[in-house]
């Protein structure tokens, strides 16, 4: 398949969504097979695009206006002054995203067939998943910021629908609303950023904007502001500080949804956006530094929160936020290679971890890790795939996470404070991962009821676990040229991913040894601390209660935002409503009397009713406008 037809990729799941939304009750098995088969086709097509892309651009320079770009005019105002095309654009970043999205989506859909069996709205669930996948594929193939924005909002809507899938549960509905509104704050920024870019560049086409920026077409300060607004969108979508609060709550959705949307794909849209626009960020280094430090703060903060969370999915959510922070750090350091590589490996092992946790929840109906334990006897497959995912996350050689985290550390090599923070965070990552694995799968069972009823999940659920575990184990090897050539890629898969940068691989023995030592050290600390009896599970609480409370309460950000909404937004609304009620309607009695008071009939009008008050408001408007008009003219 050529790159001109890449629009087929989002079109297939979109069509399936329409069919499922309309006819799912009429189809055998509510149409789940349709979604799965459709997604398998998309995976094949995505691989075809990757091979084709490799043949075409594998060697030598990359022509952005070539075969990989295509456009259809969608809206044209004032004869091209304001034109939006439905355009697609494929480059290395797109190919990586296509592979990640389609493969993880396929795995999640297969897994969901087992996990969601017997749920009400089963057909709607697959419809919504297809809708999400379609929007996500559109997002990563968009060649135009407006199309990207459309897809951006559409994935947000899909996320809203799927987080709130169990809308009978109040917490799920609240979480859906919170996620929606929080990310929407970022979206407003994104839209403003897009408009600002368009105002100067006169186009929404991403490649043209990049050329315009590199040609020095923007004023520096103006561009900084525009890019910061743009970055706001990424912050919201990728749950970065200070808009990170929605992602842990989003775990109210079904677990496969968390794996797909809130670990592997939608939340990395922010990373994708910044990577896509990185040439523009390179023009204004202030904006790039903001990306760097936002990522750094988030990575560290989220890792500390992950240390104390007691819900298996929330630990993974904090871990996701933290790893996304790593990717932004890489972008902020100017290395899209490292960021995209980490995105690629992270998608597989984090999806694996989420699906594994889903398997645990499916078996025990229990999410609190302090209530679990000893499951390795009951769920061997789940346990060992989960361990592989965890080691990959912790960064143990030779699993995928090791290679990609190493790339990021390498990029930070010349910036000591950043490097130290990253190293500490990597250590924390290893610690909380160890804690998660130990408390869930090893030690003594702490809740015997849950333990007795536990059982291994059906094959339809363990198969995706195995596939993803394999990918989590080997995905890091793509950086070796030989591996890619063995698979049929001329320049190795590494070059496919890093087509922008011929010099791919920064393996540095000393650095790698250091990173590995940090990981193993973290794992060791975790083992010493949590290995053993049931009481150990909760002993962190007594160690430093204040610190523990701070972390458990997530640095009190949620409370801060809630009071902001309560006092500021609703407050302003009620102040104006009260103004309308009291001042205009009741006190307006007095005000009206004073305004017309010089007629000397004040007392009589104290009882003025409502219609006169309304007329008074009109009179007030007229008098104010007139006075201003006369004094300014």
């Amino acid at each position: 398949m050529g790159m001109e037809q890449v629009v087929l990729l989002p079109a297939i799941p979109a069509a399936i969504f329409v069919v499922l939304a309309l006819f799912s009750p009429l189809l055998p098995r509510r149409g789940d097979w349709l979604a799965v088969v459709g997604m398998a086709v998309v995976v094949v097509l995505a691989l075809a695009v990757a091979f084709h892309f490799q043949d075409f651009f594998g060697h030598g320079e990359f022509d952005p206006s070539g075969e990989n770009a295509r456009a259809f005019e969608w809206l044209n105002l004032s004869n091209g002054l304001f034109q939006i095309d439905l355009s697609t654009y494929v480059d290395a970043i797109t190919v990586v995203m296509l592979l990640v999205v389609s493969i993880v989506a396929l795995m999640v859909m297969i897994y969901s067939v087992g996990y969601m069996r017997g749920e009400a709205r089963y057909g709607w669930y697959f419809g919504a998943l297809s809708f999400f996948t379609a929007s996500m594929l559109l997002l990563v193939t968009a060649g135009n910021l407006m199309v990207l924005y459309f897809a951006w909002e559409a994935v947000g809507l899909a996320s809203f629908l799927l987080i709130g899938f169990y809308w009978e549960r109040r917490s799920a509905a609240e979480a859906a609303k919170k996620a929606f509104i929080t990310t929407r704050i970022g979206d407003v920024g994104l839209l403003i950023g897009i408009i600002l870019l368009w105002r100067e560049a006169g186009t929404f086409d991403i490649q043209q904007i990049i050329e315009f920026a590199e040609g020095g077409g923007f004023d520096q300060r103006y561009l900084t502001v525009a890019m910061l607004f743009l970055f706001m969108g990424a912050v919201g979508k990728s749950a970065q500080f200070p808009l990170h609060v929605w992602l842990p709550d989003a775990m109210e959705g079904p677990t496969p949804v968390s794996a797909l949307i809130h670990a592997a794909t939608m939340v990395v849209a922010g990373v994708y956006l910044v990577a896509r626009m990185l040439p523009v960020f390179d023009v204004v280094l202030v904006a790039r530094d903001v990306v760097l430090y936002t990522g750094l703060i988030t990575a560290f903060m989220a890792a500390t929160m992950g240390l104390v969370a007691s819900d298996i999915k929330r630990v993974l959510a904090y871990s996701t936020v933290s790893q996304l922070g790593f990717m932004f750090v890489a972008l902020g350091l100017g290395s899209p290679t490292a960021a995209m590589f980490h995105l690629f490996t992270h998608a597989f092992f984090k999806a694996l971890l989420f699906l594994g946790s889903g398997s645990v929840i499916h078996a025990t109906h229990q999410q609190e890790i302090e209530q679990l334990g000893g499951l390795w006897r009951k769920q061997p497959l789940t346990t060992w795939t989960f361990v592989i995912g965890s080691l990959a996350l912790a960064g143990v050689i030779p699993l995928a996470g090791f290679w990609s985290k190493d790339e990021i550390l390498h990029a930070a090599n010349h910036n000591l404070p950043v490097f130290v923070t990253l190293a500490v965070t990597a250590g924390l990552t290893a610690i909380y991962t160890t804690r998660l694995v130990l408390l869930t799968f090893f030690g003594e069972p702490r809740n015997h009821h849950a333990y007795e009823h536990a059982h291994e999940s059906p094959p339809i659920m363990t198969l995706p676990l195995l596939v993803l575990a394999a990918l989590a184990a080997v995905a890091g090897f793509v950086i070796y040229e030989g591996v890619g050539q063995a698979l049929g890629f001329a320049g190795g898969i590494g070059q496919l991913i890093f087509a922008h940068e011929p010099e791919v691989f920064h393996f540095d023995r000393d650095l790698a040894t250091f990173a590995l030592a940090v990981s193993l050290g973290g794992i060791g600390i975790g083992l010493v601390y949590w290995w053993g009896t049931a009481e150990r599970a909760t002993r962190a609480r007594g160690w430093a209660p204040e610190l523990h409370a701070l972390l458990v309460n997530r640095y009190y950000f949620d409370d801060l935002y809630q009071s902001l909404i309560n006092y500021v937004v609703l407050g302003a609304g009620s102040v104006i409503a009260v103004f309308d009620k009291r001042v205009v309607n009741e006190t307006g009695v007095d005000g009206g009397a004073q305004t017309v008071g010089w007629f000397g009939l004040r007392l009589k009008f104290l009882q003025t009713g409502r219609i006169p008050n309304y007329a008074l408001a009109m009179a007030g408007g007229i008098v104010t406008l007139s006075l201003v008009a006369f004094y300014t003219s």
């Binding site: 969608w74 809206l75 044209n76 105002l77 004032s78 002054l81 304001f82 924005y149 459309f150 909002e153 559409a154 809507l157 709130g164 169990y166 809308w167 009978e168 549960r169 109040r170 509905a173 609303k177 929606f180 509104i181 929407r184 704050i185 407003v188 839209l191 403003i192 408009i195 105002r199 937004v569 609703l570 302003a572 609304g573 009620s574 104006i576 409503a577 309308d580 205009v584 409502r610 219609i611 008050n613 309304y614 007329a615 408001a617 009109m618 007030g620 408007g621 007229i622 406008l625 007139s626 008009a629 006369f630 003219s633």
Partner: protein, 497 residues
């Protein structure tokens, strides 16, 4: 004066409406003798609306005028079709409501027909007196329609407020028009425009006062803050279909007149009025959206939300140019479709539940998922959600306004439309999250329950109308180009190249 064009065929759409109104009134007067079927009058009204809408297409891409009083051009055609569409939609969607709730049905439909006629005249006007007559025809019909509810005592009260304050507003507008007439020496748009452009206007002071008063008078019609005070009360007290007409036809008619006035005769004195409209746009969008947060009645919520929307539209009038006029027309079209979708769904809801309280919408997703979907999509569209009409049209509107330099106002508008999402989501949450009345409490362990079947069906007429409007909302959101081209053609009349 023999060179005036008295070609009455130009007015066929208006004549159809007028004659239909007369027939409906007469038929109603003799309804006992004629033994009218209850669908006959609404059916006839819809036919008249469709006839008026279709015949007005005959003058597409022509530019003609009737005795220099009424222009028949693309701008007029745009609004004729818009008003006819609104009328047909509202009548189909509400005939069941009208049959039960309205005192004199024939009168009621006749008032709708006359209101539509008045609005068309406003949109076509080329002269101040004609515009004024159209405005009063629209207003008078609605004064009557607002107070025609059979049992609801709020209806009479709303009518009283509307008619008294409306009288004040039209007197204000007239005084303003008289001052403009005095400044320019003519009531014809073309002549006024020439005088002002030549800078030979008599005095500055009366002109300024005249502008203030005209803006206040028309501000009343479109519910601009602080001339909006009647709006929530009239919306709440009026029968639902009238509320729909108030928020669609009445508002669009006034916007059409604003466009005719401020892009034509008053354009040369833009510096004098631009800031006034910008200020009013600001107060309107801020007050409307913030007060909406506190409402408990769906009609009042929609009233304040529509006030907020007017703020956005005024933004485009303040920054008037061919781009922003065309964007405004596009937005008006999209807004009309979306807004009618909400109203028709609320009417269908009212037909069944007899309630306008927002709280009573809880669990609607359970009892009538289709209606809940329509309301959700329409409210999302009003808040400016992509893939729906509201986003596309609002985006183009803001973009056009931003080009003219009112960037700070556009920024506030964007913030306000984000705030609006909050109160729309409150309604959506009620529908999807809360249990319907009469449902037993769910099992606290599993969250599931055996609930009695609370489902109910939407009537076929409501279903058809809401389906068309829903599809329209989505279609405009996905591919706005056809409507945009129509809006471009209409706006080109105001700003000939």
């Amino acid at each position: 004066m023999s060179d005036l064009n008295f070609d009455y065929t130009l007015l066929i759409p208006e004549l159809i409406l007028a004659v239909a109104a007369g027939i409906v009134l007469l038929a109603d007067a003799f309804h006992t003798e004629l033994r009218l079927n209850r669908t006959l009058l609404p059916g006839f009204t819809v036919l008249a609306a469709l006839a008026a809408g279709l015949t007005s297409l005959a003058w597409l891409d022509t530019s003609d005028d009737f005795a220099t009083l009424l222009a028949v051009d693309n701008f007029t055609a745009f609004f004729r079709v818009l008003f006819a569409f609104t009328l047909a939609t509202v009548v189909i969607g509400s005939y069941e409501f009208v049959a039960r709730e309205i005192r004199h049905q024939g009168e009621f439909y006749a008032m709708f027909l006359l209101a539509t006629l008045g609005a068309s005249v406003m949109a076509a006007s080329q002269e101040l007196l004609t515009a004024y007559i159209g405005l009063e025809l629209l207003s008078f019909s609605l004064y009557v329609a607002v107070s025609l509810a059979k049992r609801d005592p709020r209806s009479g009260e709303a009518g009283l407020k509307y008619v008294l304050l409306g009288g004040v507003a039209s007197a204000t507008l007239l005084y303003g028009l008289s001052l403009i007439y005095g400044s320019a020496g003519s009531t014809s748009y073309a002549a006024i425009s020439e005088t002002f452009a030549a800078g030979t206007a008599n005095v500055e002071l009366p002109l300024l006062l005249g502008l203030v008063l005209v803006i206040a008078g028309l501000g009343f019609k479109i519910s601009a803050v602080p001339f909006h005070m009647w709006t929530p009360d009239a919306y709440e007290g009026a029968p639902l279909p009238v509320t729909a007409i108030l928020s669609a036809t009445s508002k669009a008619g006034a916007i059409a007149l604003l466009l005719r006035l401020f892009s034509g005769p008053l354009l040369p004195v833009k510096d004098d009025w631009q800031w006034m409209l910008a200020v009013i746009s600001l107060t309107t969008m801020v007050a409307g959206n913030l007060i909406a947060l506190q409402q408990t009645n769906i009609k009042r919520l929609l009233a304040y939300s529509s006030i907020g929307q007017v703020g956005y539209m005024l933004l485009a009038v303040a920054t008037i140019s061919d781009a922003s006029a065309s964007a405004l027309l596009l937005h008006l079209g999209g807004y009309t479709v979306t807004n009618l979708a909400v109203f028709m769904a609320v009417i269908a809801f009212y037909n069944r539940q007899r309630s306008e309280r927002i709280a009573d919408f809880r669990g609607l997703a359970e009892t009538n998922p289709y209606l809940a979907l329509v309301i959700t999509a329409a409210l999302f569209s009003l808040s400016g959600m992509p893939l729906l009409a509201g986003f596309t049209t609002k985006f183009i509107l803001f973009q056009a306004a931003a080009q003219d330099g009112y960037l700070w106002l556009v920024a506030i508008a964007v913030v306000m439309s984000t705030i609006s999402l909050y109160y729309y989501l409150l309604v959506i949450r009620l529908m999807y999250v809360q249990e319907p009345d009469g449902a037993p409490a769910p099992d606290p362990q599993t969250g599931r329950l055996d609930r009695p079947n609370l489902r109910w069906r939407t009537s076929p007429a409501s279903y058809a109308v809401t389906a068309v409007l829903l599809l329209g909302t989505i279609a405009i959101g996905l591919y706005a180009t056809p409507l945009l081209e129509a809006a471009d053609d209409a706006a080109a009349v105001l700003f000939p190249a």
